[in-house]
């Protein structure tokens, strides 16, 4: 039946700008009811819309299981602040946070900040990788049991378990440690769209989940193999990385679609290959690609969120569940658990205990 590993599904809940939290909450709850792994909320400094991480923090207490993955710009932000905000999203959602790292290459965005001019994507993705690296070190900088509250000695923390990170990147440095103690997942989940070569290089090194584009199962399988090959060069095993195919889906006129399938509509920048058809057609595609071992799952961007997400959950997902291809509930509580990713140990804890054993 299945290739022996669970199918992962995620959905984007952005769309035309909205500023009322209930709109986003409704979509996230719908995705949660469909037992999806996570919802994403796209963002950019130059596009109308609220700050995505804030929106997902706003809906976190009103949801229970769904993973929450905002897009975060690494080009014009402070790595230290980014790391704190993502860690805090993990705290307020009790272990359901991720972040999708992205870069800003345009003069329009650079002008909003006035600190640096636009630079090539390659350079910015190198920097984004460094932001992810520094962020992960900050998340590790407090060992899990750093807070001791030892009344006998009057010590609140064991300072041997809170570490400077002394990160030196090419365009920034961070001394550390974090202000925010280690978040519930150890490290929130890092997602990167690995479509372009520089982004894929950063993703293979730093991302837990990589979104890719493909128009056939063969192409998807090749992209996935490429991600695994690149990850291996950084000492990362294939099982540490999930690869999801990004599809922009239009389930609007199922009855009239002459031929359901890929790329039969306008290409949507940034949201993956365009799919048009009915919810059943989408379930067919997912089943077929998944059985062919082309990907670990799919990141779906509904063209019209309110309409298409409802069809995805009540149509496509219900059918996949009926076929026992997709879970009917979240067996765990954290996003890492949904994705089958281990909770990493703090690198500083490992180094310290290794040192103690020597």
């Amino acid at each position: 039946m299945t290739p022996g590993r669970p199918l992962h599904l995620a959905a984007e809940i952005g769309g035309p700008p909205r500023y009322d939290p209930d709109h986003y909450l409704g979509l996230a709850r719908l995705a949660e009811r469909g037992a999806l792994d996570y919802v994403t909320l796209g963002d950019s400094f130059a596009r109308p819309g609220p700050d995505a991480l804030s929106v997902l923090a706003r809906i976190a207490p009103a949801t229970d299981r769904i993973g929450l993955v905002p897009t975060v710009d690494t080009t014009h932000t402070e790595p230290f602040h980014v790391s704190s905000a993502v860690a805090t999203l993990d705290w307020v959602s009790r272990g359901r946070a991720g972040w999708r790292a992205d870069v800003s290459t345009t003069e329009a965005v650079a002008g909003l900040f006035g600190r640096r001019t636009a630079r090539p994507a390659e350079e910015l993705w190198h920097e984004a990788g460094e932001v992810a690296d520094a962020g992960a070190r900050l998340w590790d900088s407090w060992e899990d049991d750093a807070e001791i509250r030892d009344t006998a000695t009057g010590r609140f923390i064991d300072r041997d378990k809170v570490h400077h990170i002394d990160f030196e990147g090419d365009s920034f440095s961070v001394r550390g440690p974090a202000i925010v103690p280690r978040p519930p997942q150890g490290r929130p989940v890092t997602v990167i769209d690995g479509t372009t070569a520089p982004a894929r290089a950063a993703a293979a090194r730093h991302a837990d989940v990589v979104h890719i584009r493909a128009t056939s199962p063969e192409q998807a399988a090749a992209a996935r193999a490429d991600v695994h090959r690149l990850a291996a060069t950084h000492g990362r095993a294939a099982h540490e990385v999930r690869v999801l195919v990004a599809l922009a889906v239009d389930l609007g006129d199922a009855e009239t679609a002459p031929e359901p399938g890929l790329a039969s509509g306008p290409p949507l920048a940034g949201h993956g290959t365009y799919f048009r058809g009915g919810p059943v057609d989408l379930a067919e595609l997912v089943s077929e690609w998944y059985r062919a071992g082309a990907a670990d799952g799919f990141h779906l961007t509904p063209i019209t969120p309110a309409r298409d997400l409802e069809r995805i959950v009540n149509g496509t997902v219900a059918l996949l569940q009926h076929r026992s291809l997709f879970r009917t509930f979240h067996p765990g509580g954290t996003l890492r658990e949904h994705l089958g990713l281990a909770r990493p140990a703090s690198r500083y804890a490992l180094a310290r205990t290794a040192g103690e054993r020597r």
Binding site: P17, Y19, D20, P21, F45, A46, R47, P48, G49, P50, D51, L53, S54, V55, A57, R58, I59, A60, P61, H76, T77, E78, P79, F80, H81, S84, A85, A87, T88, L89, W91, V92, R94, A108, V109, G111, L112, F113, G114, R115, W142, A146, E147, R149, T151, T153, G154, R155, F156, I157, D158, R159, V162, F172, S173, V174, R175, I179, V180, P181
Partner: protein
């Protein structure tokens, strides 16, 4: 009277050794204290900020409550579990950029239905700067010029949408910022989030008089409060503002007991827990700027003098004149025969309101009636249950006296504070 609740994060006043002391990190703690404040119809909930952990002699300081989540993210989550309570975040202007912060604050204002506030702080030591791209290069004077220009730029962004809901290009070219483009968030429910200022220097007071809606002070005694109140309110006219346009709210602590005597006893016990033997030595090190761990907290003061420009203590402002403080402490200790620890307790005890509920309610009201404050930011010594007594026992008395609201009459923080909504540029 206006009231706000401070959630004690990183500090030396939370009594973490008390069995009732809960987590300072888990969202459940924030939710509990915020709901308590909202039950008490408080104006707002306040979060402080520190961007580098304190250190002594190059090592992370380990005696106080330490570690806290990032404020704006916590406040957005709190917006989901509260309805009326204002949500105030302390955010530094030195290590942020106007476009990003204006956007995050406008987002909070939208997502909370008009309850956002920003406490503008300026700290910029090189020590904190080591966590940031820009580093810590601003000198003291520049901190406030950057802060003022930062707030002005943020206001230009908040004002940049047309009344019929379209973004209008903005352009701000100044000494510290050179930004232009379109702001991506429409005018928020309050027009501008409420602006709070915390800082006591002349520059700080001037900045507050020109730009802030609320000023958070440390002046706790009636006399000091009255002087500060008169001084700050007197500065407003120069900016075309009325005295009621800026609310003065000192940070205070409250200890309630069944009787005044019982409350005094409790307060003394709390002080002893706050100034543990280890913390007493540390307070001394903060003045002396050197390692004094060999000293007995129950014994006499060191005979050596403080090291003037020591970097032994980092991440917290060292006392302005260590030699003067040292001689004051020595004198106090000699005069009253106090040990190191007793001296530290006696000389660092802040004004707080201690007594039976009736006493506390009467004193708070006297401060407001006596023009020493427009309200208070309450700093509990326990997280998250530290305001239970106040809300259950003092707030009803304040309401009976007609000194404090019995229910919210508006839904935005500006309406709680009685502040006008800023006029848009139209």
């Amino acid at each position: 009277m206006h009231l706000a609740a401070h959630f004690p994060g990183v500090n030396s006043t939370t009594v973490w050794s008390d069995p009732r002391s809960g987590s300072q990190i888990d969202f459940a703690s924030f939710e509990y204290l915020a709901r308590t404040a909202e039950r008490g119809t408080f104006d707002f909930f306040f979060l402080a900020e520190g961007l580098r952990l304190r250190e002594y002699d190059g090592r992370v300081h380990d005696l106080d409550v330490v570690g806290r989540p990032e404020s704006l993210t916590v406040l957005n989550a709190l917006a989901a579990v509260t309805d009326r309570l204002g949500l105030a975040a302390t955010v530094n202007t030195t290590f942020n950029e106007p476009y990003e912060l204006a956007r995050r604050l406008a987002t909070l204002d939208h997502l909370s239905g008009g309850r956002a506030a920003w406490n503008v702080v300026t700290s910029s030591d090189a020590f904190t700067g080591e966590n940031f791209r820009r580093g810590g290069y601003l000198d003291r004077a520049d901190r406030y010029t950057r802060a003022a220009e930062f707030v002005a730029a943020a206001r230009e962004l908040w004002d940049s949408w047309t009344p019929d809901g379209r973004p209008r290009p903005f352009e701000h070219r100044g000494r510290h910022f050179d930004v232009s483009g379109e702001f991506t968030v429409p005018r928020s429910p309050q027009g501008h989030p409420v602006v709070i200022q915390a800082g006591d220097s002349d520059e700080g007071r001037e900045f507050a008089a020109s730009s802030a809606d609320v000023i958070f002070t440390r002046h706790g005694t009636l006399e000091a409060g009255r002087a500060f109140y008169a001084d700050v309110k007197g500065r407003l006219a120069a900016y075309g503002r009325r005295p009621e346009d800026l609310k003065i709210m000192p940070g205070v602590t409250v200890v309630v007991g069944d009787t005044d005597a019982e409350a005094q006893e409790r307060a003394a016990a709390i002080r002893r827990l706050q100034v543990s033997p280890q913390n007493a030595i540390l307070a001394l090190e903060q003045v002396w700027g050197t390692d004094l761990s060999a000293y007995d907290p129950d014994g006499p003061f060191p005979t050596s003098d403080p090291v003037p420009d020591s970097e032994f203590v980092q991440g917290r402002v060292r006392v302005a004149d260590p030699l003067a403080v040292a001689s004051r402490w020595r004198a106090l200790s000699r005069e009253k025969g106090l040990s190191i620890r007793e001296t530290v307790i006696e000389s660092t005890t802040r004004q707080s309101f201690v007594g039976a509920p009736e006493t506390v309610a009467a004193e708070l009201t006297a401060f407001v009636d006596g023009r020493a404050a427009d309200g208070f930011i309450l700093v509990p010594h326990l997280t998250p249950g530290g305001l239970d007594d106040f809300v259950d026992r003092v707030v009803p008395l304040l309401r009976e006296r007609g000194a404090f609201r019995s229910e919210y009459t508006g839904s935005t923080l500006r309406s709680h504070l009685g502040l006008a909504e800023p006029v848009g540029k139209g």
